[in-house]
């Protein structure tokens, strides 16, 4: 492996003159005063193997004592060419790859891709399929937020919530397995509809889970974390992202809503069954870790309620439209987006009329959400770095693609 030895990237040394003000703080050079007590800056590599980087994120931290002076994320440890490989797969084969992009909520990626194809080929999706899509989206949103909550707690130092969410997520995965046949890699949403109808047993299992979830599990989480004094002290006023920064860095999802912008693709550009449903969009005001935490905790509750509504109002009828066996969308481009647990997940397909796309671009929400750490980490203590990264909720499969 000698040819790979140059993997270590040049490190950002903060020295010299000032930089333009619009730059993220991590890229700004920090002038060192002559009169100050001379301390040497220390570069710390956080990751790629670190339990709190949620995968293989690598952050270069430049420290002055315990304070972060500059931070820079180094990506690509999971770059496996989803976009390139999609150009070499037929349209119906791409869903398999997209599942593995955002592996905590594969349904959302599949749905964005299916919607892009449907808009190009003008396929009308049956009502039952649209409701089933929304139902799956809400269950996976719930299970994805559970993982986020457990790992966020573990980053801060609370081990117990992680064990609780694994217990509950196993119950969710059992329901998902009953509906789709798989625990994680569903490949369930297809262009034109969904793969299977929901079975009465799955419906029963889901209702039982939702009962337990609302009566027992959710209050337990709030007891474990929300009411925990140490937890509150660790997340309040940490990692503040104000509205302008959030918009300038292209943040979406709970990170944007935590900063006070109540933008949600489900409300603004309704897809699947969301146009016919009534639900709340929780949002914060200050944009610190606590606001992002509360927004996601509220979303867990809303997702549970939505799943119940969707089960109640599920229309009868076919769950798959008539689509050709080989998909050949006409020449052109299409963009479709969904609100994934991490933010706006968009798929941009460029077709030349053949059975393979010319270009398939995935707009990964956590890629843009992560970029903001270069701006907000400087000035924090090193112990708060994990809290900030945890509160952004990243999935590396989707960032590196």
């Amino acid at each position: 492996m000698a040819e790979h030895d140059d993997v270590r990237e040049p490190v950002l040394i903060a020295e010299g003159a000032s930089a333009p003000a619009g730059l993220p703080k991590g890229l700004r050079r920090v002038p060192r005063g002559v009169d100050e007590f001379a301390t040497e800056h220390l570069i710390v590599n956080m990751g790629p193997q670190h339990p709190s980087t949620h995968g293989v994120l690598h952050v270069l931290l430049e420290l002055d004592g315990e304070e972060v002076v500059a931070a820079e994320a180094s990506l690509g440890y999971l770059h496996r060419g989803l976009e390139k490989l999609s150009e070499h797969r037929r349209y119906h084969q791409i869903g398999t790859l997209l599942d593995r992009a955002d592996y905590l909520s594969g349904v959302h990626t599949e749905l964005a891709f299916a919607r892009a194809l449907e808009s190009m080929m003008e396929i009308e999706v049956p009502a039952r399929a649209r409701w089933l899509r929304s139902l799956l989206c809400e269950i996976t949103r719930l299970s994805s937020h559970l993982v986020w909550m457990g790992t966020f707690g573990m980053d801060i130092g609370a081990m117990a919530p992680f064990l609780y969410i694994l217990r509950d997520r196993d119950a969710v995965l059992d329901v998902l397995e009953e509906i789709t046949g798989a625990r994680m890699m569903f490949n369930y949403v297809r262009p034109g509809g969904v793969l299977y109808d929901i079975t009465p047993k799955a419906e029963q299992m889901m209702l039982e889970f939702l009962d337990r979830f609302e009566s027992t599990y959710l209050p337990e989480y709030h007891d474990l974390l929300t009411g925990n004094e140490i937890f509150r002290a660790r997340v309040r006023d940490i990692g503040v992202i104000d509205r302008d920064t959030a918009v300038a860095f292209g943040l979406t999802g709970a990170c944007l809503r935590g900063s006070g912008v109540a933008w949600d693709v489900r409300k603004e550009r309704p897809y699947a069954a969301y146009g016919e449903l009534d639900f709340d969009i929780p949002s914060g005001s200050k944009g610190d870790c606590w606001d992002r935490y509360m927004v996601r905790m509220e979303e867990i509750r809303v997702a549970g309620g939505l799943a119940r509504d969707l089960l109640d109002g599920m229309p009868e009828g076919p769950y798959m439209a008539k689509v050709p066996k080989v998909l050949r969308p006409p020449e052109g481009e299409a963009y479709a987006s969904v609100e994934s647990p991490r933010g706006e997940l968009g798929v941009h397909v460029v077709s030349d009329g053949s059975d393979k796309p010319t270009r398939m671009r995935l707009r990964p929400p956590s890629y843009f959400n992560l970029a903001v750490i270069d701006e907000i980490l400087p000035g924090h203590m090193i112990a708060d770095v994990v809290a900030v990264i945890g509160s952004i909720d990243i999935v590396l499969g989707e960032i590196d693609r």
């Binding site: 040049p10 990506l75 292209g250 052109g332 970029a371």
Partner: protein, 152 residues
């Protein structure tokens, strides 16, 4: 849908009359020259398109196209800007107006073999120097079936 006439008029006023604004299957698309793209984006920012949602390149077989996807949260509208580029060309950075372009510009330059102009940190983002060819170009082949076989 954004008002095509208004955007065209605003671009005209900014001295960018050569930019074609039209409504296509994708939405409202402004087709600009590469050198004009940063100025088009600045003009659109003044129009209220404050968020750069996405930036990506595509290889058409004859050259490259860079697409900027912009959004106005207050107006609830999206607009696209596309710029044609030659292979191995130079991508002018737009980070001064849109800091969210910092990562995708590095990624596009790396995966399509472009050089960056005006970027504060113009190094590779996703791969190492062990990967020599720009991976997303059509001329870069994926491994063949024979190459990935493991008979041993």
């Amino acid at each position: 849908m954004p008002d095509v006439a208004k955007i065209a008029a605003d671009l005209e006023r900014a001295g960018l009359g050569a930019v074609q604004v039209a409504e296509e299957g994708l939405g409202v698309v402004c087709r600009a020259d590469t050198s004009d793209a940063p100025r088009v984006l600045e003009a659109l920012k003044a129009d209220g398109f404050e968020m750069l949602l996405d930036l990506f390149g595509a290889d058409t077989g004859e050259g490259l196209v860079v697409t900027y996807h912009m959004r106005s949260i207050s107006l609830d509208e999206d607009v696209y800007v596309t710029a044609d580029l030659a292979y191995g060309g130079t991508l002018a950075s737009v980070w001064t107006s849109y800091p969210s372009a910092l990562y995708p510009e590095r990624e596009t330059a790396e995966l399509f073999g472009l050089s960056l102009e005006g970027h504060p940190n113009p190094k590779r983002l996703l791969t190492t120097d062990a990967v020599e060819e720009p991976l997303l170009l059509k001329s870069t082949a994926v491994r063949t079936h024979e190459e990935v076989r493991r008979d041993g």
